[in-house]
């Protein structure tokens, strides 16, 4: 704080305590998050390979990526994956939250069951899905055939055809993220004062009118936060794709992270991999900026 008598900046006792308390956490985050973040920008503009020193090459890695068929496919894939998975989680999550809001008896137990997929390690539960999508023993195909939806012996080629492999990956992502959306939106719904919805009903609004004109506007900032958060986590996904397809068949289901892993850790092209990972960065930046804006606006309202 500024010393009022002399105008000289003096560190108060409280400030010193504050710095001592925050320093250990800050040191770890600077060394293990801040530095690697800057380093990845440098790597992406160099030609460093595993175990070798390299030189600055400007945007050459990025230009090479735009010319790579595999990378272009990965870029399109990542965007499709993000849009479909996030909108799936949002729609189903909102429906589930509205159902759970009406469930009064046993709500705690049902809420506990619904959240389970989000708690269990995703790489382990995806193994169960891998087995459910098995080309020969798929329980999903077995059921669809029994119900005569599919012809005998004509099961869906879940993980061997690009379209179905992408669909499978999106289904697992929705399975994992749907509870997260539902539980947070449920908390948002329950925090709406009953007077608001009652007043709208008295004014003659039907259930859809109440939802559209009262509920939705009130939970809109929360929806925004959850969607923005989910966009980063979805576009940066690794586990589901790695376990289900490892990016195959023939590199058709990669996301940025799995392609970067394949190029960087498996093939040793550190600089190329850093350039691929960096494509996650604009999504992170935009999402963080918009989330902070929503929070700030809410703070001003309160």
């Amino acid at each position: 704080m500024e010393n009022e008598a002399t105008g000289v900046a003096v560190i108060t006792k409280e400030e010193r305590t504050a710095y001592v308390m925050i320093l250990p956490a800050l040191a770890i985050l600077i060394i293990l998050v801040g530095y690697p973040l800057f380093r990845s920008f440098w790597l992406s503009m160099s030609n460093i390979q595993v175990g070798q020193k390299g030189d600055f090459v400007g945007f050459r890695n990025f230009i090479m990526l735009t010319q790579s068929e595999t990378f272009r496919k990965t870029l399109v894939n990542s965007l499709i994956y993000m849009f479909t998975a996030v909108s799936g989680k949002l729609t189903l999550g909102l429906v589930l939250a509205l159902i759970l809001e009406k469930v009064t008896r046993g709500r705690k137990i049902f809420r506990g069951i619904i959240l389970l997929p989000w708690v269990v390690p995703i790489c382990l539960s995806t193994l169960a899905w891998l087995w459910m999508f098995d080309p020969l023993y798929s329980v999903i195909n077995w059921t669809l055939m029994k119900l005569d939806i599919l012809h005998q012996g004509q099961g869906i080629p879940w993980l061997s055809e690009p379209f179905w492999a992408r669909t499978a990956i999106i289904i697992v992502n929705i399975w994992r993220g749907l509870p997260f959306f539902a539980i947070i939106l449920l908390a948002g719904l329950l925090s709406i004062p009953k007077d608001f919805t009652e007043a709208a009903k008295v004014d003659g609004a039907g259930p859809i009118g109440v939802f559209w004109h009262v509920t939705l506007p009130l939970i809109f900032p929360l929806l925004g936060i959850v969607v923005l958060y989910s966009i980063i986590m979805t576009i940066a996904d690794f586990d589901i794709v790695y376990v289900l397809t490892r990016g195959g068949p023939i590199n058709t289901t990669h996301l940025f992270a799995t392609l970067a892993f394949q190029e960087g850790i498996a093939s040793g092209d550190i600089s190329g991999a850093a350039a691929i990972s960096l494509f996650i960065f604009p999504f992170l930046g935009a999402s963080a900026y918009l989330q902070l804006r929503i929070m700030r606006r809410r703070m001003e309202v309160l």
Partner: protein
């Protein structure tokens, strides 16, 4: 008639809930069934896969525990997750207290910094982070993960604890200060005891995130004896095209047990941790 409609309205939400419950639970049911089936039944295309008809076997669990590195991976994960969580929580408590309760230059900016770090996905950092891990000579050691898991556990815990700390009334702190307590005494004797639910929540989330993380285990560790459970089960139990589905499902199930156990006993803490951060804003 009116009574009938009212009754229908009250059970309707439960009917709509059923497909969601099946969707959520089926993969776990499927793991459980497969892990106890005999190989003969698992690979019988004509058998009804939903039930066990040819008897229960513990063969897959025996194989997992005696013929694979599962026990070692489990122990590694336990050590890594406990150490990373202990480190993260102690540093996060200090950082969160300082950011919410002490006045100092740059606190607002650092708070935003913590929030942004909490949003950074590990997949953005693993390439340059492998160089840092190599610099500390920790490649291929469980301590590579003890060091790097706090990169996601600290920002999350600090952000969560900042919410809990700022809801504690300042008056109880000020009363202690008037009685002559220092800041450190206020933190350990007044604030921490009141914030125990928040600290339990942050601990559970740190442990759960650490236990379930896979990528860093892939990227920084290659010897089987140093692998965490996630990387061990996913890489070493799947060998080429030959799948040991019975033991793979047993591994996925046993590997989830510590988390499911914590979750079952302390569900409310998970829910509050999940909703607290989001609903507040």
């Amino acid at each position: 008639m009116r009574g009938f409609i009212r009754k229908l309205q009250s059970i309707l939400p439960y009917l709509f809930l059923i497909p969601f419950l099946i969707f959520a639970l089926f993969p776990f049911y499927w793991m459980l069934m497969t892990s106890f089936k005999t190989d003969q039944e698992i690979y019988d295309v004509s058998a009804n896969p939903f039930f066990i008809k040819m008897g229960i076997t513990l063969k897959h669990y025996m194989f997992l525990l005696t013929k694979t590195g599962f026990k070692v991976w489990f122990r590694n994960s336990l050590v890594i997750s406990i150490l990373a969580t202990a480190l993260s929580i102690s540093l996060s408590v200090l950082a969160a207290y300082s950011l919410t309760r002490l006045r100092f230059r740059g606190s607002g900016l650092l708070g935003i910094g913590i929030f942004i770090t909490y949003l950074i996905p590990p997949t953005l950092l693993f390439i340059p982070l492998s160089e840092v891990v190599a610099f500390f000579k920790l490649i291929d050691s469980i301590f590579a993960l003890v060091l790097t898991y706090p990169t996601f556990a600290i920002p999350f815990s600090t952000w969560l604890l900042m919410g809990y700390f700022s809801s504690i009334p300042r008056a109880i702190e000020e009363a202690a200060m008037v009685d002559g307590a220092t800041r450190w005494q206020v933190l350990t004797r007044v604030v921490i005891p009141v914030a125990i639910p928040g600290i339990i929540t942050a601990t559970l989330f740190s442990f759960t995130l650490s236990w379930g993380h896979m990528l860093y285990g892939f990227a920084f560790v290659s010897s089987s004896t140093q692998k965490p459970l996630t990387a061990g089960v996913v890489v070493e139990l799947i060998r080429g095209d030959v799948f040991y589905w019975g033991s793979l499902m047993a591994g996925a199930l046993l590997g989830s047990i510590p988390i499911v156990a914590c979750y079952t006993i302390l569900t409310e803490f998970y829910i509050s941790g999940l909703t607290k951060g989001a609903v507040k804003y």
